[in-house]
Chain length 477, copies 2
């Protein structure tokens, strides 16, 4: 249990690998680079999926499903796209006992196959916009993998939209970045920096890529969602044309945007501590755990009856579990649920029953400071309200942590210091090659050109050239 | 629209292929044997998924996710399993630009990889039962494919459970068959016959397979869900052992059970008619469509305002859509929504507004007989109630249809007549070879040995040997 968990300050990376397994989020699989998402981790993903899906539908999108396999020739139709993805492909060469005429790629992303279908479906301006999302598995053959953060197969959603005009497509790209930001802030309690990707970090085949960047508790950056403006690149490669109102043929403008099971890793590394996970109540598979406490056997029945009653009352309002396991001490159970990051624990013992109280403990505030006595009659009001308090507190803590580790710098030695445990913000006017050199020298990359700009102009931190934009730099997962 | 739809009596198979595409359920893909599930079809699948998922969770199951790829050697550990599936495998031989040391199979089903993980997770009787379900895509390289019914890639759920005793595992197998039956009857409005599969039709590697068989409107059978008792076959192949209460090592007993996107085909072929789909209200993506009607331009505003008001009021209770499309006649819209199988249509015109009424039409009863005038003030009560009425009526119609086409037969010429447009029920004591011959001679197979048995004994319809059980026979999809 908790005592065997490496502390974050000792080795953050080891802490991560341990907690993901100890908290039953995921396990390694016998297949190189693939993970097994265990029930607790999958339920967390289901919560993420459901919250995102609600937002997609509220912004007019519908779900559909496209084939897992893509003919190799499709990828080759967009030159940057195939160049970007070909080193990472898994290829099916045999089917039904025979060698295939054309090898099939296991989708690394679906712009190409969806582009092919859109060309068939879209004829007139009346067919636009097409606003489709897909929940699916994708495969990118990674050499160095880490559970949730980088796996050969992962689960994600990929939105693919087609529009009549450049403006509409650009609006869509921004809208979905905003949807992702809203989800991160309100549900995952993760503050993110929305902005534009630099040339070298943008999606293979995109005109422009946008990202939300989050800071993990080791100060490193995690790209948590991306939204791409694809211009007419894929429309031209797949011949997605429509007749406009003047009966003239036009190429459509397309976008794509995605969030993956990586988000589970973001939640773990944004909020977790040395006792284990700290889950935001909005996403926690179990929001409240009820732990019955007794010393003498004769107390057992009354305590369990009261605990079951509390569970049933709360069960109508929140996701609650009653820990009736036998042969485990209350202290052991506390550690166990703390490790799993359950936001609120309710303890009930003989004295609580006598006083018609329960003891309520917050996961995000360890020890006595996080404990409150709540009258049994008030649990329906107080516990759901407390979950909201915890949600906000976790978010605020993450904001404070991050803001304390973003430094505005003007000189390279300050830059290097800043990226050692956080982000640097500085004027930037480098090109692809400058970025590559900067990464080699410092291990930091341009995480994004943030939407939030100071304005004015300055000097590029790296090249010394005049610059009009600041960038956010950090070491990234 | 509807006028271009082949009638069921003319060519049922052609009717099916046409309606699946015309109603925007699915489309062919450029990848051999794979389908594209379009938004309307996918939403229907989401409804099926959600209803099943509720039932899985209510019976104590949790969701998880296992890798898409399975090492070829895993399949070979269970001899019947690999023999059954090897002709249908898609094989990945290259990853990340290199040839793989061991080829990976794209999962055709996941008993093997899950068995491997269970062997790792299960140590003691305290770890049992393990009750996990997975929603996933699977691939079986089929030569002759049909949208939803038989595709190389399909979506499904596969439950995989492990138990301490044979009895528990057998109970689980039956419980899940019952869950499937309940779903079909209450949500899909499809009557099914639950029963045991014959030797030659059982799952590769199972001790016994159970099925629910439905009759389509052409009298053919569609296997709609299966539940397998795997005995200790996979536990022995993957070494799933636990220490029992006496500290002795025992093999676990396992089950698996699945329902796939084939269920969409079952819904289409159980209820559809010459006008198109007839969707059961519980699963319909759109339960009610509101069609505004006006002739003169000056009527437009008032009609649209009333229609929007109706949509908003109903939107709190049911899944409703308002058809505001311009330039299409009401009649055209009626046909369009009928083709898509929307259970209830609400028509609003100037006269309805004057009388404070709406006209309500049922999809399942064509023409005037299905129309009722409903006071505007009563729509919140009447429309949801009407949806339940329609749900029950569709189910009853399917029961009556099926029951009229199941014939008890004792002679082969009656058998042949029965299976021409329905099912035959007859005493059966044949073996694998008898089944193969029967199929060759009549195209019919043993669909199941139904749970519901007349008792007593008789003479096998085919072999003439003494028999104690009746079987259901039919031509199958």
């Amino acid at each position: 249990m908790a005592e065997f968990l490496t502390s974050q300050s000792e080795d953050f990376s080891k802490w991560y690998n341990e907690i993901v397994q100890k908290a039953d989020l995921a396990d390694y699989s016998p297949v190189r680079g693939c993970m097994v998402i265990k029930p607790y981790g999958y339920t967390l993903w289901e919560r993420i999926r459901d919250e995102l899906d609600l937002r997609f539908k509220a912004t007019g999108h519908v779900n559909a499903y496209f084939p897992l396999f893509i003919p190799m020739s499709f990828l080759e139709k967009e030159s940057e796209h195939v160049e970007g993805f070909s080193p990472e492909l898994a290829v099916v060469t045999h089917g039904g006992g025979s060698k295939l005429e054309e090898p099939l790629v296991v989708r690394p992303t679906s712009e190409t196959i969806i582009g092919h279908m859109y060309a068939k479906w879209i004829q007139s301006y009346r067919d636009l916009p097409v606003l489709i999302n897909q929940w699916a598995n994708v495969v990118r053959w990674e050499m160095r993998t880490r559970l949730f953060l980088r796996t050969a197969e992962f689960l994600w959603q990929e939105g693919h939209t087609a529009h009549a005009t450049r403006e509409e497509a650009e609006e869509e790209t921004q809208r979905m970045l905003q949807v992702y930001t809203d989800f991160c802030v309100k549900e995952a309690a993760i503050p993110v920096i929305p902005g534009r990707k630099s040339e070298s970090e943008k999606f293979a085949g995109a005109v422009a890529s946008y990202t939300i960047e989050a800071m993990m508790k080791d100060g490193k950056a995690l790209q948590s969602g991306t939204s791409h403006f694809l211009g007419q690149n894929f429309a031209k490669a797949f011949d997605i044309q429509y007749l406009d109102e003047n009966n003239e043929r036009q190429y459509a403008w397309t976008t794509s945007w995605g969030v993956s099971t990586r988000m589970v890793g973001a939640v773990v590394m944004s909020h977790g501590d040395d006792q284990g996970l700290v889950l935001p109540p909005h996403l926690a598979p179990i929001q409240v755990v009820v732990v019955p406490i007794w010393r003498k056997a004769k107390e057992r029945e009354a305590v369990l009856a009261a605990a079951r009653d509390v569970k049933e009352r709360l069960g109508k309002l929140v996701r609650v579990e009653l820990d009736e396991r036998e042969g485990l001490s209350p202290g052991w159970k506390y550690n166990d649920w703390e490790m799993r990051g359950v936001p609120v624990r309710v303890e009930i013992g003989p004295r609580d029953i006598k006083n018609q109280n329960v003891m309520v403990a917050r996961r995000d505030i360890p020890g006595r400071d996080g404990k409150t006595i709540v009258p049994m009659s008030e649990i329906e009001n107080r516990i759901p309200a407390l979950l909201e308090t915890v949600q906000n507190a976790i978010y605020q803590k993450a904001v404070d942590f991050r803001d304390g580790r973003i430094r505005d710098v003007e000189r390279m030695d300050d830059f290097v210091e800043a990226i050692d445990d956080g982000f640097a913000r500085a004027f930037w006017s480098g090109d692809r090659e400058d970025e590559a050199r900067l990464k080699e020298e410092t291990k930091a990359t341009v995480r994004c050109i943030p939407d939030d700009q100071p304005g004015g102009s300055g000097t590029c931190i790296y090249t010394g050239k005049p610059a009009t934009e600041v960038a956010i730099f950090g070491k990234a997962y």
